[in-house]
């Protein structure tokens, strides 16, 4: 979430609230066209050059929020086209998860350097003198960069005393840590699904709001309305996401108000991840694995899987907090439907894996959940909950921010083997995850525990969040202190048989 992109964020959120409202109120989806006019009334454009294009774009947004693919201008017919396949009460998934809305993409130029009006055509012209490719010359009015020759080294940008040369490019591809975005035949962004790890950084970065992921909101609400026992498992980063006055217990109660049977903390599953990873580390590092990568961030795992095949086995085999939580819940409550609610969109992909799909029925983001609160006019801060959430240990709750996972696992290792010195490193942001793995591959991280978080700040920086990092972290740390369990080993919600031993 990038706070200053408020206008784009608001459009996306209006779409989520609208889809939630349609689902709750049983509105016939064939009337979707009417809803577009409700969202964008009148004759004048607010955001783009024409109201026609605005309505076409929001139509595709609504379709993606329903789970359909975004269409190009060549295919854009009625907004209701093919809508019956998503008008159901169980998960639908049309590949890919993250897509460019082509009719919204403004085809930003790829990375290059340009000379701005600041250029004073100075006598010293260091831009010319530092260029290793003779790409800069002095023209009639200003310096000129020959884009054919330029290798984008940035020397001229640094050298100019007037800051007149700037680097510009595509926010989406700059945000992508795995180089998955290139250009299509109209120079618009195109995501290579084989490279994409669904971290969602491009969705957050695009200043035109042209990239989106698909939502399962509609089908989830249909499932709740059918009367199925739907349980919410909520990621540790939920604290303070739903308004500054809403306490954690009130958020859980508000979720129940939406029709969920009950709510549990994914921090409980995080405790199992900690217990398992600590034992795994002691057993396998440095014997079978030269180093061990943490397992909780699915985008980090996918990045390793796709780019570091030989090192893939060095990522922990322990399950993720989402999977452990879902399994625990389903084992205790046969017939339960489980919804993971988190800051993350790659969890939507993780939940589709063969080994996971029976445990997790739906995945939605905090932002999508807030759309449900708005549609139902539920006010978390007005709730009067009977009890506080108490399913996770302090370190399980700290999984929410960068560094929290490594801290949890290393402190558990210390409990098991006080003699063992564990070195660890935590990185955040997919670019740095890739850098860390390059060093690990080169043997420079042997013996270490490596925590990779695809999002800057860790989960609290995820694309589906609602509050800035600093505020979220402060509140999570306070919530962690309130946990009844200091160590995951003390967690009485976990059966002794489930807790691994050395």
């Amino acid at each position: 979430m990038r706070d200053s992109y408020i206008d784009i964020i608001t459009i996306r959120r209006k779409v989520f609230a609208k889809i939630a409202q349609l689902a709750y109120e049983d509105v016939d989806l064939l009337l979707l066209n009417r809803e577009i006019y409700d969202l964008l009334p009148g004759e004048q454009a607010t955001y783009r050059e024409s109201i026609f294009r605005e309505r076409a774009v929001i139509g595709e947004r609504l379709r993606m929020a329903l789970g359909l693919n975004a269409r190009t201008a060549a295919e854009t017919g009625a907004v209701t086209e093919g809508i019956d396949i998503v008008d159901i009460d169980r998960l639908v998934y049309n590949r890919p998860l993250v897509e460019v809305i082509k009719i919204a993409c403004e085809a930003c130029p790829e990375k290059h350097m340009i000379v701005t009006d600041n250029c004073r055509k100075c006598l010293a012209h260091p831009c010319v003198n530092v260029c290793p490719k003779s790409a800069v010359s002095i023209g009639k009015h200003a310096a000129i960069i020959d884009q054919e020759k330029c290798i984008k080294c940035g020397k001229c940008v640094e050298a100019c005393p007037y800051h007149s040369i700037v680097t510009t490019g595509r926010p989406c591809s700059e945000a992508c840590g795995v180089n998955a975005i290139h250009s299509d035949y109209l120079n618009r962004a195109e995501i290579d699904d084989d490279k994409c790890v669904a971290c969602g950084a491009c969705i957050t970065a695009c200043p035109f709001g042209s990239i989106a992921d698909k939502s399962q909101l509609y089908q989830l609400i249909r499932s709740i309305k059918r009367g199925e026992p739907v349980y919410a498992i909520v990621a540790p980063s939920f604290v303070s996401q739903f308004g500054p006055l809403a306490k954690p217990a009130q958020v859980f109660e508000a979720i129940r108000q939406l029709g969920f049977t009950d709510v549990i903390e994914v921090g409980m599953g995080a405790d199992l991840t900690t217990l398992n990873e600590a034992v795994e580390f002691l057993h396998h590092v440095p014997g079978q694995k030269p180093f061990m990568g943490t397992s909780c961030c699915y985008s980090w795992k996918l990045m390793v899987q796709k780019n570091f095949t030989a090192q893939n086995d060095h990522i922990s085999e322990s399950s993720t907090p989402m999977i452990y939580s879902a399994q625990q819940l389903k084992a205790r409550t046969p017939g339960a439907k489980v919804v993971f609610i988190g800051p993350c969109i790659s969890k939507k992909l993780e939940a589709l894996q063969d080994s996971v799909k029976d445990s997790v029925d739906f995945v939605i983001t905090f932002e999508e959940l807030m759309g449900m609160f708005v549609a139902r006019e539920v006010e978390p801060s007005a709730m009067q909950p009977q009890r506080d959430p108490a399913e996770a240990s302090a370190t399980g709750r700290s999984y929410a921010y960068a560094g929290g996972v490594a801290a949890a696992v290393t402190s558990r290792i210390k409990e098991l083997d006080p003699e063992r010195e564990v070195r660890f490193e935590s990185v955040e942001g997919l670019h740095d995850c890739v850098k860390l793995m390059r060093l690990a591959k080169a043997g420079q991280k042997n013996g270490m525990l490596l925590e990779g978080m695809a999002c800057t700040g860790g989960c609290i920086g995820g694309p589906g969040t609602l509050v800035p990092l600093a505020r979220a972290k402060k509140n999570i740390q306070a919530f962690a202190k309130e946990s009844p369990f200091a160590s995951p080993a003390d967690n009485t919600h976990l059966a002794a048989a489930d807790k691994p031993v050395l």
């Binding site: 608001t10 959120r13 708005v374 609602l466």
Partner: protein, 90 residues
Amino acid sequence: MKIAICTGSKCTFYGSSHIIESLEDLQESMQTMEGIRDDFVLEIELLPCEGHCKGDEKVAPLVYVDGEAVPMATGPMIMERVLNEAMRID
């Protein structure tokens, strides 16, 4: 000067969180900004939902500037009100 910001679901969803961040950031910047009156104090209050937005799309986010209701408020709108007051010359 007192700015009261509604933090109900709808106001939070449609921008009050951004307004809070903007004002807290401004509060910090004002400490070193020139032309701020010595006696100027900015008080930020967070309000629970009072229901004004229900059934009306033209309210959230709702902010009160010294008691005066500002519907569909934005960060820049409120920041400007604050700075105009903070830099007022009597």
